[in-house]
């Protein structure tokens, strides 16, 4: 029995070594979310959806805004950044001792919409059953709970995921979409996005729950630093569909901006300056430029705040 148990233990230790090898080697190529749940708590966050995940590069902001280490905590997968699940994740990711953080909140009409025509639509938000809700620990490396809760077999995904070459999630949370599309492919993707948006727009309506959570998120983050609202650039036709969905959107956000003292930057007006991979998401080459502009804008605002603030 002794020999049997010794040999069995040795064999199992080899098996666990293999599993450990996989777990410790999972990086940004594994999926577009995992890495965000493996870093420690952060002081300056970028909040948003897929456009933000791909469009804002934290290292560009860090260069401009010395003393801040930004972390892109934006997710994709059709999730609005405003809802109970996301706010809960933000609370876990943010270092509670933070008092002078900078928080960039991405805003757009789509973030305040819902498919469900019921009063409390939060009960049916898509994120209630996805990885964001399932992930109990957001600051753990390796995050074995994320892997077990979100994958039927993460080892299989590690070895057989075929999308590995097309994207990479960096340690600072920036999702680099490694695209190498031809002009024809870009146009086709753009047409698909427009078609999808047109077919979907009547299914969605304004969600008061999402709006309320947007305000709650601002209020929460305001206790830990400065909040900046940014509407990222999109291609003109995509922007038109969004504006038609909610024509008074921009003025309402401007009101919120004044009310909560959260500067607002609308970047959709200069859409011709950037390249998009589908009309909705920025190309990896345009992300640094957009990030630089945001950095400059925040820098100016920060200086304004210190000039006129406490004094």
């Amino acid at each position: 029995m002794k020999t049997f148990l010794l040999k069995l233990s040795f064999f199992l230790s080899l098996v666990f070594t293999f599993i450990a090898y996989v777990v410790f080697n999972i990086d940004g190529s594994f999926d577009p979310y995992y890495v965000r749940f493996t870093t420690g708590q952060k002081q300056s966050l970028i909040i948003g959806a897929s456009r933000t995940a791909q469009g804002i590069k934290p290292e560009v902001l860090n260069t401009k805004l010395q003393g801040h280490q930004f972390f892109n905590f934006a997710f994709n997968g059709n999730i609005s950044p405003y809802g109970p699940t996301y706010l809960n994740a933000i609370k876990k990711k943010l270092n509670p001792k933070t008092t002078n953080g900078i928080f960039i909140l991405s805003v757009g009409p789509g973030h305040f919409s819902s498919k469900h025509h019921i009063k409390d639509d939060s009960l049916r938000f898509i994120e209630l059953n996805n990885y964001l809700a399932k992930t109990r620990f957001v600051n753990l490396k390796p995050n074995i709970f994320y892997l077990l809760d979100n994958y039927s077999n993460f080892i299989r995904t590690y070895f057989t995921d075929r999308n590995r070459e097309s994207r990479f999630l960096h340690d600072n949370g920036w999702l680099e979409a490694k695209t190498n599309f031809t002009q024809k492919q870009l146009e086709k993707r753009h047409r698909n996005v427009l078609r999808q948006m047109k077919s979907q727009r009547n299914k969605y309506q304004f969600s008061n729950t999402r709006w309320q959570y947007f305000l709650k998120t601002i209020q929460f983050l305001k206790n830990h630093g400065e909040v900046y609202l940014v509407r990222l650039p999109v291609e003109r036709k995509v922007g038109e569909i969004e504006n038609n969905f909610w024509p008074e959107y921009d003025s309402l956000i401007s009101d919120i901006s004044s009310k909560y003292n959260t500067p607002y930057l609308n970047m959709t007006l200069n859409e011709n300056d950037y390249i998009f991979i589908d009309g909705s998401h920025l190309h990896q080459e345009s992300a640094p430029e957009v990030s630089r502009l945001i950095g400059d804008w925040i820098f100016d605002n920060e200086n304004k705040t210190s000039d006129h603030g406490p004094l």
Binding site: M1, F11, V15, F18, N153, I155, R156, F159, T160
Partner: protein, 484 residues
Amino acid sequence: MSFNSITYGVFFLIVFFLYWFLFNRNVKFRNAFLLIVSYIFYGWWDWRFLILIFISSITDFLLGLKMNQKDLSAIKRKHLLYVSIGVNLGILGFFKYYNFFVESFTDAFAGFGINLNMTTLGIILPVGISFYTFQTLSYTIDVYRKKMQPTNDLIAFLAFVSFFPQLVAGPIERAHRLLPQFQERKQFNYKRGADGLRQILWGLVKKIVVADNCSVIVDSIFNDYTNVSGGFLIVGVILFLIQLYCDFSGYSDIAIGSARLLGFDLMKNFDYPFFARNFSESWRKWHISLSSWFRDYVFIPFLRKNYSKYNRILSSLLVFSLVGLWHGASWNFVVWGFIQGLLLIPYVFFKGRLLFKKSRVNQKYFVNKIEITIRIIFTFLMFSFTCFLFRAQSLHESWMHIRHLNFDFSKYLSNKDIPDLSQIFIFIAAMLCIEWFQQKQNHGLDFDRLKLPMPVRWGIYLSLTVLILIYGGPEHQQFFYFQF
């Protein structure tokens, strides 16, 4: 608690340690422990099922003792056997076949214009009921035939009926083989333990790497058969047979390996059936515990009265129809069984000739090999094609599949999530190669004969474990035979 789940792994590890280090000091303690863990194992599905297994077990235990009373007349003994058969088949019939018979009667009378107002019931089929019912029935029949003495050890008997490694999908053990093993003292044997582990590993490989991957393709093809070319239904049904074999024989390997780790020997359930050279041989190699059960308790008693060629044919058709019905309460299973019986008829008539002859010893080696290969492939393909009936939910559905058959391979599934056929063919080819070379061994990883050096053996075990880790997962697929 399925064998391919982490839950079973943890459960078995706890049982293994408690069994050998705590409860094995005393046979009664050990059996009581095995009974408790077996009931926990079975209750994991639904604790209410325990009531049924307990009723079956206690009935047969008491009837077995009663049958052995000295002053009991032959007629009374026979009546006691009928009670046992009635109780066991009554429970099985109600839970498995009630709705089937009600629907069949209603349909049959409707054919004559008579509308019967019989309603079906929402009955849940208890897991493994067909397996343990046959196992416990074999006990009373053997006691009735005076092939064995009844036991007066209730705990050992209850543990025998509910022994968890083989409870839910066999092998269907005979009391005279397994019951005495509960009454003997056990000592851990390294060689047997290690072999048990290897057999479990091989079973998991067949189930997780081959069967589960096949099932993804098979389900996709059959669920969407109108959108694929008819030729892929041939691929689908062949893959289905391979899935069925790897699923069920994989289960049997895990069951036998688990039992061996606890010091018990279970009977072989599969003997490399894909290498059978004719249909008769196929059934001697496939689900051996069931086919031998029917042979011993139905076929042979039926033949005893009349051993003519025509009675053998009639018996085959009857027995195989029952084998089909045992598998599922649906006419497609009955017809499937009937066709299995039909395919055996040529063997009865032409035994020793054509495809049914034994290979001649003096035949040239190469010619002999080619002939064997052709016979194996022919038998395999015939067996595969009967599986259209086994795979479908109804006779009508299987007919629809067969009607769609042709040799066009132009249109395959468009879903990108479906594994590559090439990948699954590699797994199947590797599995078949190993089993071909291991035909004389108990299982695919029984390497004692080859005397491989330890690093090579460990390399193989580790590679296979890695394959399981890659292709397995917590969201395991149920074993196919659980539904029976």
